[in-house]
Symmetry: D2
Subunit: 424 residues, 4 copies
């Protein structure tokens, strides 16, 4: 095993043991910043690279401070953590060759999930001793691998600096889960100078050793938190004095699912959670819903979202209750630039690590907020693509037994680095 590969596995397992969810990636970011600084990258971090008003679904102050304390005591690099202490955990690391050439950017996401990692012996991280140290926090989507690949790519860039041209930007993004973090970095203009933008993901059902140069089909999505505020009253004594938030929520849920299909493309709608009421014998004075809408493109998603908002407003009016709609996540649709996809495809086909490369895959997929970067780059005349590194999965994404084949780490680093060379 090469020294780089050893390092990659070490990084990945360290990140895996210390999963941090969206806007709390403080330990992770401090390590990333430390490594990149040592390698010689120029760093911009925290609020400098994130628009605070576009952070969606960011945890509250109390949770953020508590996590900061945890990070301080669990391996964060103290010299680098401070700018991330309020939850603005984005990093833009630039390598400027000072030679003419394009600006190439890579998006790397770092966040984990609220999942309790398996403790079964058959689960590789458990067996090898790098299972999550935290209950109900887990890297179950592979972003630990993504962060690792980013550091590996940075290492190769630094090692090969003399042979490179133009600028390379590594964008470490918080809170991809729930599609909450990318927009705040895009709005902070971090990709406005980018000619080529490459996001990547590991796994997603693509077989081990396979590569997809242009994964399209991401659904535009909105994640909404809905709150209804009614008036409590005793259900036996004075039912007429209550304003029933539970009924408003139930009616909203039912009617939201009844939003019409769209003739121009697929839609999705889900009320994933509903919680309401303060006790059996009390007219419910509050209700809370977690909703998500999706559409085959941004316009279709906007249609569904607007319908959902009308249903919510109408439900509130029905029962005389107040309501609030908060957007806690959002992603748009995007399509890969074919020229750039071709470069990645070629890099993969030449790679000794890749068994087979597919040019594009247009089948419907989930949602991704890397699309905010992609749209921005393409609108500025640049090119963008989203590629997939297939790997062997122990279980599906977001499953408590999720695990990858660590060989994919080196493979991904190589393909991405080769694509830089081709684009130079």
């Amino acid at each position: 095993m090469s020294k780089l590969e050893e390092k990659l596995i070490e990084w990945r397992r360290d990140f895996h043991r210390h999963p941090e969810t969206g806007f709390l990636e403080m330990r992770t970011a401090s390590i990333v910043a430390s490594v990149l600084d040592d390698l010689g990258f120029e760093l911009r971090v925290g609020k400098d690279v994130m628009s605070s008003q576009h952070c969606m679904g960011k945890p509250g102050k109390e949770e953020t401070e508590a996590h900061y304390q945890w990070a301080l005591h669990n391996g964060a690099i103290k010299e680098y953590i401070e700018p991330f202490s309020e939850g603005y955990t984005g990093i833009v690391a630039t390598w400027d060759t000072k030679k003419d050439g394009p600006t190439i950017a890579f998006r790397i996401d770092m966040d984990a999930l609220d999942i309790n990692e398996s403790q079964e012996d058959s689960h590789f991280p458990q067996k090898e001793g790098f299972r999550s140290t935290l209950a109900y926090k887990m890297h179950a989507c592979g972003h630990d691998a993504h962060t690792t690949i980013g550091l590996g790519l940075a290492t190769l860039i630094a090692e090969n600096k003399d042979s490179l041209k133009g600028k390379i930007k590594l964008i470490f993004q918080p809170a991809e889960e729930g599609t909450r973090g990318a927009r705040s970095m895009a709005e902070a203009n971090v990709v406005d100078d980018v000619d080529y933008f490459i996001a990547s993901h590991i796994g997603t059902g693509v077989p081990d050793g396979h590569f997809v140069a242009s994964k399209n089909g991401f659904l535009a999505t909105s994640k909404l938190d809905i709150t209804f505020k009614g008036v409590a009253s005793h259900a036996g004594g004075n039912p007429e004095q209550g304003k029933n938030a539970l009924l408003a929520a139930a009616s909203a849920a039912l009617n939201i699912y009844a939003i019409p299909r769209h003739s121009e493309g697929a839609t999705r709608i889900n009320v994933g959670e509903l919680h309401a009421g303060s006790g059996r014998n009390i007219i419910a004075d509050w209700a809370f819903l977690k909703i998500e809408t999706r559409g085959e493109n941004t316009e279709i998603n906007e249609f569904v979202k607007a319908q959902a908002e009308a249903v919510i407003a109408g439900s509130a009016q029905m029962y005389g209750v107040e309501y609030e709609i908060q957007t806690v996540g959002e992603a748009i649709s995007a399509e890969g630039s074919r020229e750039l996809a071709g470069v990645l495809h070629a890099s993969a086909e030449e790679s000794p690590y890749i068994l087979e490369s597919v040019f594009e895959d247009n089948s419907p997929a989930g949602s991704e907020d890397a699309t905010f970067f992609m749209e921005r780059v393409q609108n500025n005349g640049g090119q963008a693509t989203y590629c997939i590194f297939g790997t062997e999965l122990a279980a599906g994404h977001h499953n408590e037994k999720f695990d990858i084949n660590e060989k994919t780490l080196l493979s991904a680093v190589h393909v991405l680095f080769e694509s830089i060379k081709k684009l130079n």
Copy 2:
């Protein structure tokens, strides 16, 4: 059989053969006016005794004109029908004794129902040849008897004019069914000078020969017609272009039934009819609902009505459709004045025709718009009551086999006339 009784039965069977529904009682009113004019009553009719803006659920022009033609060709008294031709079929007939004394008013309703009368031989009107001449029109609530009793009472008044004092007003009201007609006469001030107001009804489950001097417990009610107007679109081709009035109506119906109970008294709510949609494969662009609310008193009914209106507004907002709420009937609650009830009770106890008289019955009942008159009289310092003449019913009210014991006609005339003498 007395000559008066013969006449009563003749009138009743004639009215029964020619049932006219609310605001179309043109033939009936022309006969009533003719008889009363002949007897010497002073008549005020039509728009003089009805506020057109308070007529609720009045049929449209076309239907009204068609019925006028029917009446002209089916026994209406031509000299008297013209003022009723536009559907303002109320009559106030006053007998002024020119002697000091109280003003006593009687409310008499005249309208029939949209019911198809039984053709079975066991049905007395069929057997005796006075079944309704019209399909789906029937005196199935006894208002033919009420009109008859009013004419009988007028006859006794005229015959006994010298022994009477004060004024007597006979108020023939249209459209009691659906509680649509009384308010327009009350708003035209026809009872503003009344000291004693007596409304009466036949049947209602009170046994043959029994009498109730003060029937209370009428529920306040509102009758609402709801229209939703959406936008049609092809359900297969462009479902997203429609604004679904059917869904708005279904959601309204469901949530209207969910209006809370009231701790201060009984409520009722019903969506009696719902019609929506223009075809199987079209997003429904219209919907229509017939609703009624009730409450143990006027305030409680207003509460239910306001909730229903909020639900309707909210449903419309949910689906982006327009809506209209039309009040097509309304009644309030009222309570009989005990002193006046006592007079009626005494009259009944002395009557040879009445087996047993009950002073009051406070059990819950349906709705009655005579309550508009009652409230107005009581607010002006007068007294009012609502009494019941029990009779043997062949079948319940609003049933196609409904029929009364015709002996009750004379009995009612006598008790009401005796009460005039007692109040003089």
Copy 3:
């Protein structure tokens, strides 16, 4: 203008003036039978070519008999009408050349719609005096043209009999609207011997003079009539004694729209009509819904239909009411056979009447029960396609001002006839 073209226009205008809806095409069928018999086709008609148990949404006896009387008095050919008198209005006309060769079948639909044709002068049929003679009946989808094209094609076949081989079957199908009639003919095995099956439609948005050789994308569909039967009671007096069919229907409607989207293809769901209730103050004892489901393929439609059935059963259980689900229309999905499509494409490209031919159009479309024939033929190893003759539309299909360019009639006849020659 050629004599054939004159005849085509004459036929079309006659059919247009006498529109007959599904399973009532008695006058039309009698004329078709008469013409084809005269030309020398061998005829099989009525129940011989229709499985009565697979007729969906067929009108009742009374309506059928009444229409039969109308047809007798409005130009039906008496010698041919009798077999159609019970509403089995299908015809299979076979031309057997007695020479070896393939069996080629054409599907022709004949039914009209319940639409009131425009009386505006700008509406061509009104101006030219061939507007529908019946209120609320109209050929607003072009099936009058289809029938005409069928007769024109038959004429060319007869005229050119010596140059043809194999067999040609003209299948005149009732009740395509609502996708109700094709299945009954397919189940009667009328296409079981067919090698090439061609269905066609005029218009559908394809530009005048254009042709589509293989129109795919028809959605599988089910048309359901739902009846709920509850128990009436007085809404004021005894609300607890009712079983509310209106609420069951409203709840069914709402929850039917909430049936989940399907990840494998488009779905549609519509409750096009809802009617319920017997009066404002009565707990509704009946409700009726017209529903349709659609799916990108037959399996997806079956999924939606099964979900709808579960919702209906659950709604009935909620309110203790009885229910009945009747399938009154059904179509499946199908895909054109490429080889046969190629033949039609070639015929069209060679035609002097066609400006441009498109090989295939896979965009989503409505539903068509010709798919039952197509599936059957393909399952037997034959080929099938559905082609479109573009025409200039005065207004969209199913619109009261719908009209076609009559020049398309001759054009369609020629292309279809040429395709026979190519397939021989």
Copy 4:
């Protein structure tokens, strides 16, 4: 202050500091048992006086054991606690005078609520240092006072033993809150030998120093916990594979509120809490509802409950999910025996502590499971009543600032004791 009054206040404050919710009143019961044993009462406890199969909403084993440990370490009387350790915390204490005479029983409830007691200085228990020692546990309904009154009454009985006749039974009942405990004791036959049964409550809006000898109007009630179990699936990836428990619950909630009013008496229905779903992007695989029904009498409540059960079954069927209905509380209606009420009324009128006594109050009230005892006694030919000791309330029942006037304790003890003397 008398020595008894001092003791009453001491007991009350001790119980107030150590609130125990239903079926966990182990510490309380151990003290009660200890005091009564010392006084000379004959004790039957735990499962001997409770039917385990009729305990409703009893906490699970784990919670019960944990509370047992807490009680052991927080003042429970070790010699008496063991029989209560599994949560069967009822006590029947009998004083048998061995002289002929009636058997008189008193119902005393002991349980607290899940409410967080106020820490404001203005709150008397806080100021005086006897605020609850437990977060989210509080005697906010006065059952601490009830238990105290029971011990005070026992004290007077023992002190006056020679002047008494017959038997006196003190029934200490668990879990009155949620109407969960009485039935299990009634079913264990503890009142089957009782001639006079007296339940009492403090406060409830009756003014300080006032007394109500017969409080009627309790609504029959059922408390239901509903669980729906569906199937999770990814809302974006495979919505059709889910079975949506949230939608079943929302539909159930909406339709449960739509249960019809009852013409024979008041009803109530409430869905107090609804919780559903495992995440925003997952089709919800579980839902939980807390429901209660009420009726003016037992039959009416049974009607509402049966309707609710039908709605729940129907909702589950709609969405193909499983469901479970658990009855976690129940009470019936009852009416006080007038003769016994007269005795209490007389006792109160003679009492120097009572300013005014009201014979009966029939206004609608909440629910009480003492009604199970009352019905049983009355069915056996005995008499029963439910009386109220008015007191000054710092805030309403179930409010975090609830507090009573401690002077009411002695007053209640005296009236109850006097009633024994009168009944002897």
